[in-house]
């Protein structure tokens, strides 16, 4: 099974996350969850980290820190965590199928359980 740190953070993905970050800021402003005073600090925080992220684990860690300070980013964190989970589930499903096809039913069931328990 692939680890999250093996999942590269591509330029396309980075841009998508960044667009979502800006959109979250817009929403935060509209809903008065943010004031304009706080925007430079958010921009500085994002810019200080975003280009150092190389994999999904680092992205999740960054988004967790960001969300802890500014809850408006929680949705993006959940979206990204959801993506990781979805990829993991697909990979596990494929592994379960492979194990079942090879007659290793018990192992296939154990692996399937790890996903449902997580």
């Amino acid at each position: 099974m692939r680890k999250n740190q093996d999942m590269p953070f591509t330029d396309e993905h980075k841009k998508e996350v960044e667009i979502n970050l800006v959109k979250a800021v817009i929403t935060g402003l509209e809903k008065d969850q943010l004031t304009e005073d706080g925007l430079p600090e958010i921009a500085d925080t994002i810019l200080a980290r975003i280009d150092t992220i190389t994999n999904q684990d680092q992205l999740a860690e960054f988004l967790t820190e960001l969300s802890a300070k500014w809850p408006i980013f929680e949705n993006i964190l959940h979206i990204e965590l959801g993506k990781v989970k979805s990829i993991k589930e697909k990979e596990v499903a494929r592994d379960v199928l492979n194990l079942a096809n090879s007659g290793n039913i018990e192992e296939a069931i154990r692996l399937a359980k790890t996903m449902t328990e997580s």
């Binding site: 970050l21 800006v22 800021v25 817009i26 929403t27 005073d37 706080g38 994002i46």
Partner: protein
């Protein structure tokens, strides 16, 4: 057009987004709407980095052009250029506007673009301001003096770069300094106009006086010709002196002339009657010749008298003429003297008016200078004030924890007196009243009350101090008698004295009004040591992680053990014991400098 994904993310329809964008671009849009509009543009351009740039510049609410215009209005020209006649700024004004521009430009750049985007000299300007503020706090000075320059700068840079609260406070101070009522130099310009008018009037009055003076001098000199031993005076004197004699001789001459004239006519008639027969008569001829000779003599006398009369009359006419001239000269002189006096009075009035106008102008200029200097001080003090407020806010954050603790204790209290006392501990050292320095009515530390209470505690001792607290900040909480009864009640004091003093020491520490010297004095008394212990225990309850490193450092388990261990020695691991206790009471301002307990434990 925004993509579907973008729409679903923001939860807005395309129309709503477009409407929002238009709203953000509309002339009357608020700063927030404008920022949202710019962020939408960044998304539409698929350029989140542009979005970050917008974010970094947002929130300052600063209109650079407006501020520049405001500066030029506040330091509007108020001196007349001698060459062009136009109004110009004074040299001092030019210096002031330059200083304000420097302060405002650097601060607005910082607020709009962030610390990292500033030039090195501008960064140094802000660093120096912040460091100066930090150095005003004794612990700040001690901490920063103990740090290598690079670390010192790194801490300041970090505060200016990442601390939103620092930026927020500096922005508030910036707005306060730049959005107050504009300076008005109307009074100076009015005074200048009056002064210039007075100068013009003075010139006219001076000219009029000089003309009147010249005319009077001329008239005076003309009249003066008739005084003293001057020509006309002498001539007039002589004529006046001989006037009577002249008159008499003229009358006599005229009388004699009349007699002679009658005789002359008689002789003429006689001569005519003789002449008819005198041709044949020698005697008659001789008589005729005698009469003719007498006639000629008489005629000569008459001629002589006529000449004398003419001379006398001419002299009298000259006398009359001179007298008339003298009178006219004197009248003219007197009239012109009045004119001269009037002109002199007007000239003196104009001189006085000019001096008055000059004094009024000087006063108006001085008043304007005071206002302009205050404007400079406000602009140059933006960062100082903003950072100072940031520190004050930090102090109040520490107060909030103590207050929360006291509130909980107060709510549990069943005894009315103790409840009242705990209620007093809640708000005694805070103020939320609006004032000139607290326009928003924010809760701030009442440093004056803290200072007064500390003086009372250190000089009056625990009983006086507790009694004062029981009577309340405004003196109306308890009567003097009741407060005295409670102070004399050992049971009440056993429970409340340490709490009251402990609370106060925590507040005094937060307010930076407690020194190692004060701690040394308190350490010498049982009540002082008990108060210190209580205060540290309160800190331990609120934030054990802050106290534990000290206990570990001292290798003790409780605060009481720590205080007992420290009370018997002057130094602990190279640090003054009183100073160590001070840091054990609280980090004070150090907390705001990104410090940890390591800073407090650092040998100072």
């Amino acid at each position: 057009m925004p993509t579907t994904a973008q729409l679903s993310e923001t939860g807005l329809t395309a129309e709503a987004l477009l409407a929002q964008k238009k709203e953000g671009q509309a002339p009357g849009a608020t700063e927030k709407q404008k920022t949202i509009g710019k962020l939408q543009d960044a998304i539409a351009g698929d350029n989140p980095r542009e979005g970050y740039r917008v974010m970094k510049e947002a929130g300052s609410g600063i209109n650079t052009e407006e501020i520049k215009l405001r500066r030029s209005q506040d330091f509007a020209p108020r001196e007349r250029d001698a060459t062009t006649g136009e109004l110009k700024r004074t040299a001092a004004q030019e210096d002031r506007i330059d200083r304000v521009a420097t302060a405002e430009n650097i601060t607005s750049e910082y607020l709009q673009k962030g610390f990292a985007a500033l030039s090195d000299p501008d960064k140094d300007y802000l660093r120096a301001k912040v460091e100066a503020q930090i150095m005003q706090w004794p612990e700040g000075a001690k901490l920063f003096n103990s740090l290598p320059p690079a670390e010192r700068q790194a801490r300041i840079d970090r505060m200016l770069t990442t601390e939103g609260a620092v930026r927020h406070n500096i922005r508030e101070a910036f707005n306060e300094a730049t959005k107050v009522e504009a300076l008005d130099n109307k009074d100076v310009l009015t005074a200048l106009k009056k002064f210039e008018d007075s100068q013009a009037t003075l010139k006219v009055k001076e000219l009029e006086f000089n003309q009147a003076d010249a005319a009077f001098t001329k008239a005076f000199n003309a009249a003066d010709e008739f005084t003293g031993r001057r020509g006309k005076a002498v001539e007039l004197g002589k004529l006046q002196k001989s006037k009577d004699a002249l008159m008499q001789s003229l009358q006599a001459a005229k009388a004699e002339y009349a007699t002679l004239d009658a005789q002359h006519k008689l002789l003429d008639s006689e001569l005519k009657s003789i002449s008819g027969y005198a041709q044949n008569n020698q005697q008659a001829l001789d008589e005729a010749n005698r009469v003719r000779g007498e006639f000629d003599t008489q005629r000569q006398k008459i001629a002589k008298l006529g000449s004398d009369i003419g001379k006398a009359e001419a002299q009298l006419a000259r006398l009359e003429e001179l007298e008339a001239q003298k009178l006219e000269a004197e009248e003219k002189r007197d009239a012109l003297e009045i004119e001269r006096q009037k002109a002199e009075t007007a000239f003196q009035d104009a001189q006085r008016n000019k001096l008055d106008a000059q004094a009024s102008l000087k006063m108006a200029q001085d008043a304007q200078e005071v206002k302009e200097n205050a404007r400079v001080a406000a602009a140059e003090g933006i960062v100082d004030k903003g950072f100072g407020n940031y520190l004050d806010e930090g102090v109040m954050r520490g107060e909030e924890a103590r207050k929360a603790m006291q509130k909980a204790q107060m709510e549990k209290e069943t005894d009315d007196d103790k409840r009242a006392a705990r209620g007093e501990l809640l708000d005694r050292w805070s103020t939320d009243k609006r004032s000139l320095t607290n326009l928003k009515g924010e809760t701030k530390m009442d440093k004056k009350q803290v200072a007064a209470d500390k003086d009372l505690l250190m000089t009056g001792g625990p009983k006086e101090f507790v009694k004062k607290v029981l009577k309340g900040k405004d003196g109306g909480l308890m009567s003097d008698t009741r407060a005295q009864e409670l102070v004399n009640d050992p049971a009440f004091m056993a429970e409340m004295q340490n709490d009251i003093i402990g609370n106060f020491l925590s507040v005094a520490r937060e307010a930076n009004n407690l020194s190692a010297k004060d701690i040394l004095q308190l350490r010498k008394t049982d009540w002082g040591l008990a108060g210190i212990t209580k205060s540290i225990e309160m800190r331990q309850t609120n934030n054990p992680a802050e106290v534990q490193p000290f206990l570990d450092h001292l290798q003790v388990n409780t605060v009481a053990e720590a205080v007992a261990k420290l009370s018997g020695q002057d130094k602990i691991n190279g640090t003054d014991t009183s100073l160590f206790l001070l840091f054990l009471l609280g980090k004070g301002i150090l907390e705001l400098f990104g410090s940890t307990s390591k800073d407090a434990l650092r040998p100072l």
